[in-house]
Symmetry: D4
Subunit: 148 residues, 8 copies
Amino acid sequence: MKYTVYLSGEIHSDWREKIKNATQEHNLPIEILTPNTDHDSSDECGAGILGAEEKPFWKDHKAAKLNSIRHMTALNRADIVIVRFGEKYKQWNAAFDAGIATALGKSLIVEHAKELTHPLKEVDAAAMAVAENTEQVIEILRYLCQDY
Amino acid sequence: MKYTVYLSGEIHSDWREKIKNATQEHNLPIEILTPNTDHDSSDECGAGILGAEEKPFWKDHKAAKLNSIRHMTALNRADIVIVRFGEKYKQWNAAFDAGIATALGKSLIVEHAKELTHPLKEVDAAAMAVAENTEQVIEILRYLCQDY
Amino acid sequence: MKYTVYLSGEIHSDWREKIKNATQEHNLPIEILTPNTDHDSSDECGAGILGAEEKPFWKDHKAAKLNSIRHMTALNRADIVIVRFGEKYKQWNAAFDAGIATALGKSLIVEHAKELTHPLKEVDAAAMAVAENTEQVIEILRYLCQDY
Amino acid sequence: MKYTVYLSGEIHSDWREKIKNATQEHNLPIEILTPNTDHDSSDECGAGILGAEEKPFWKDHKAAKLNSIRHMTALNRADIVIVRFGEKYKQWNAAFDAGIATALGKSLIVEHAKELTHPLKEVDAAAMAVAENTEQVIEILRYLCQDY
Amino acid sequence: MKYTVYLSGEIHSDWREKIKNATQEHNLPIEILTPNTDHDSSDECGAGILGAEEKPFWKDHKAAKLNSIRHMTALNRADIVIVRFGEKYKQWNAAFDAGIATALGKSLIVEHAKELTHPLKEVDAAAMAVAENTEQVIEILRYLCQDY
Amino acid sequence: MKYTVYLSGEIHSDWREKIKNATQEHNLPIEILTPNTDHDSSDECGAGILGAEEKPFWKDHKAAKLNSIRHMTALNRADIVIVRFGEKYKQWNAAFDAGIATALGKSLIVEHAKELTHPLKEVDAAAMAVAENTEQVIEILRYLCQDY
Amino acid sequence: MKYTVYLSGEIHSDWREKIKNATQEHNLPIEILTPNTDHDSSDECGAGILGAEEKPFWKDHKAAKLNSIRHMTALNRADIVIVRFGEKYKQWNAAFDAGIATALGKSLIVEHAKELTHPLKEVDAAAMAVAENTEQVIEILRYLCQDY
Amino acid sequence: MKYTVYLSGEIHSDWREKIKNATQEHNLPIEILTPNTDHDSSDECGAGILGAEEKPFWKDHKAAKLNSIRHMTALNRADIVIVRFGEKYKQWNAAFDAGIATALGKSLIVEHAKELTHPLKEVDAAAMAVAENTEQVIEILRYLCQDY
């Protein structure tokens, strides 16, 4: 069975590459959607395309809105939304995406280290699976793609 | 004009009391909904009512699910969802609520200190107002409640 | 905080009375909705009002459709749907109601004895709380109704 | 006319194979979706992929949630949901799927032996067809696929 | 249990009065909504308020659109939509209302004489009850309003 | 621009063939969906596949429900729903389909002779075009399919 | 029959007062919602409450977003949305509100002078009534509120 | 990542051609949908196909409704709706489309000259990007289509 999967959340490790590689290696019928994973271009896109801003707030605002076009398209199109929380940064955008996915009725898979269990309990409670590493996420996708 | 308002987010300062007091003082036609703001009872409710768990993950899970009944009822009932982000803690539940509010088409108001602008840019981008303090939030509510 | 609660499921014990009594005793701001709990009138309503049927299938069909008007109105109106599974009978209508509640985005609370865990795992997985007895359900409602 | 069909319900007989074979034999333009029909792997997937649990409740919980990703994707994608009820087991998951299908506005076809009419009356009342055997289900699909 | 009920369909007999009287007599907690039952004012409202039209098509068009404001408000607000088909006239508006009610997920009750069974089979198939007279409709409402 | 079009309504003239022929002749990028246009098989399908019924009501009921699977799939999939009303028969199913199409937000095109204007005014009021003959419907489709 | 009515659009004449007066005079069961009709405070609210902006774009942005909280709450709550287009100004916000009302399935009434017919044809095409003056709008409301 | 994009709004300059050319030149995976951009045929389609009208109102009405079939299909199908406001004409249809796009949850991009900022502030407030020229719009599309 095929799926469209959106890989949201943390962009400072190579977890998306691992999933893409596994998808190819195991020939999984999965269409993968991602955010812009190039941190700099993601931060600069608004000012770069639509004009510079003096206040950091508006510079961030223009970038975040531009990126939301990609995010909302992916969230609406996905069957499964996978959100990884890393150890660093606030990552509120990851929890925000998880909230949108939940309200849209998408199946949510969350990946995070055990240490983050308590602050992520509300997100985990809405998830269909809570993985501790990307290998588990890949196993889940392999399991879900099997035909019977 | 009357509104139903859900005050989500940070529970370690008295911002909800300020809003409630202002609502009473100015006689605003606002129905206020809140999460459980007693941190301990919020963490313990699942194990306390439904039975203890050895693993912290499941203890948190039971509590978070129980509390989600209140949160989802409030999010569905509200016209306006106000989310405050404080300086401490991960507060992923606050960003998660903001995501749900956005996807449900609720009007989102976010309050946070200027320093949090960059990590909150995706949440701010979906908000109808970004306030720097609770006084501004109160001014917004007073403004919105006026009759013409 | 107030709630509208639909008490679906098993009708052969007095669990609804316990909840109603507790609601009154603790003065909980809960509007309680119920199915027809009189088994005979529930089975006979279709043939009784709209005319007898020779085939049991159509007799049941007319009754089930008539009762669905009450069920669907209650399911749509409720914030919380509580479904109790007893030890006897197939109770497919209870699981059916739980499925509707889930798809409508209602908060689901399930009550059943521990022995039924395995066959009810799909229903439990969609629930915000799984209680083992009505006393726990009442504790949940008391907890959720608290004001902060 | 083509359809996407989800075959939910009982997994202890070969009814899905019969439908798949008929689809091929008659060249019906039907995309068939199924749950995991391997009972053991379905029960073990949660603990197997995401780690063992001491309590049977949580083992079942993890498996049921993982499988719900497949079920919900199939239920959302399907035009028609076919649910078969067998003679054995509680099969609450089948009635639960039927409830979700109904609330999502999918066309529901139910198959069950005559003896199960009374306990299944609420599910049957929401169905567009109630078949007594898989041959009838196949005839329905052949009829629906005709072009005019 | 209380209901909001929209009485759509035929306006040339006193069936709505019978239901209103029974509601009062039995003190049923039902809010009744109706279309404009004054045939002349219903036909003339568009031209009368918004200006005459030479072509009958546009005269009818203006009236039908104006009346649709009332109809759509009632259909959206109702829990139950009751549609009566009489012996005379085309009554396509009644079947049209039944279609809207069905797609909005409202519980549909249809009343018509036995002779109209074949041409009304598609409407009946979507109904939760098919009554042959207004007395049966009243019995249904009395049954549904009972408290347990 | 391409469209999916459902041709609902009257099945006693060759209007669907005219539209299909024009679609081919002008190479229009339109996917055409139709109901079962073979009157006899449409009436007999329920009893034929699922077993005979003594009462005409239930025979009609089984057929109408079976056919509704095709109708609802087509109504949900269509961008445009075209409903033709002929001179004969009650055709309540056509008005019923028009109501569903309207509530689902589909673009409705109605075709009928001028004489039917008054009884069809509510349906016409919800339509995006009211044609007097199939040639006009074809012109509309040709117009809508043009690329710019 | 009662209605909730949102009076959107032009704020430079006294048309809302006329409707409010008529509502009181004729004792119509209508709840009236309005935007902020004080042009200055509407333009200044964002900068006034949330801080000044150098660029006019962001000053307007903050005000427009703040006001959208009121507009969206009113549009979601209304049964009927009435939009008046005056002779002056661009009034794109009025057409924007009409678009939202249409997509939300609200009944739209438009009021404008005959001279504006051509540029408003798309908005008029989605309206249930197109009035040329406020007196006609009042007549419509009186007509819709009648009980039968 | 691929997108479906609807280019709504002004039809008196060659902005759509610029976007189409850029899409081809840069090989962007974008499906472009447009309204009828031939002003004359757009105005005449209703009377031309469905018969002449004496009153300009009804001539416009028939054309606008016919064109709405194309517009609503495109608005429902699009991931991104781009609306350009030119210097001339009222362009209420452009703001109306923007309102529909917003209520349907589509990502809105607005293009207009700086001078139109104040009257377009409500539309801009709902947009994910406000561009001052078509070159910026093209840069946005190139940015959004990148794969990571």
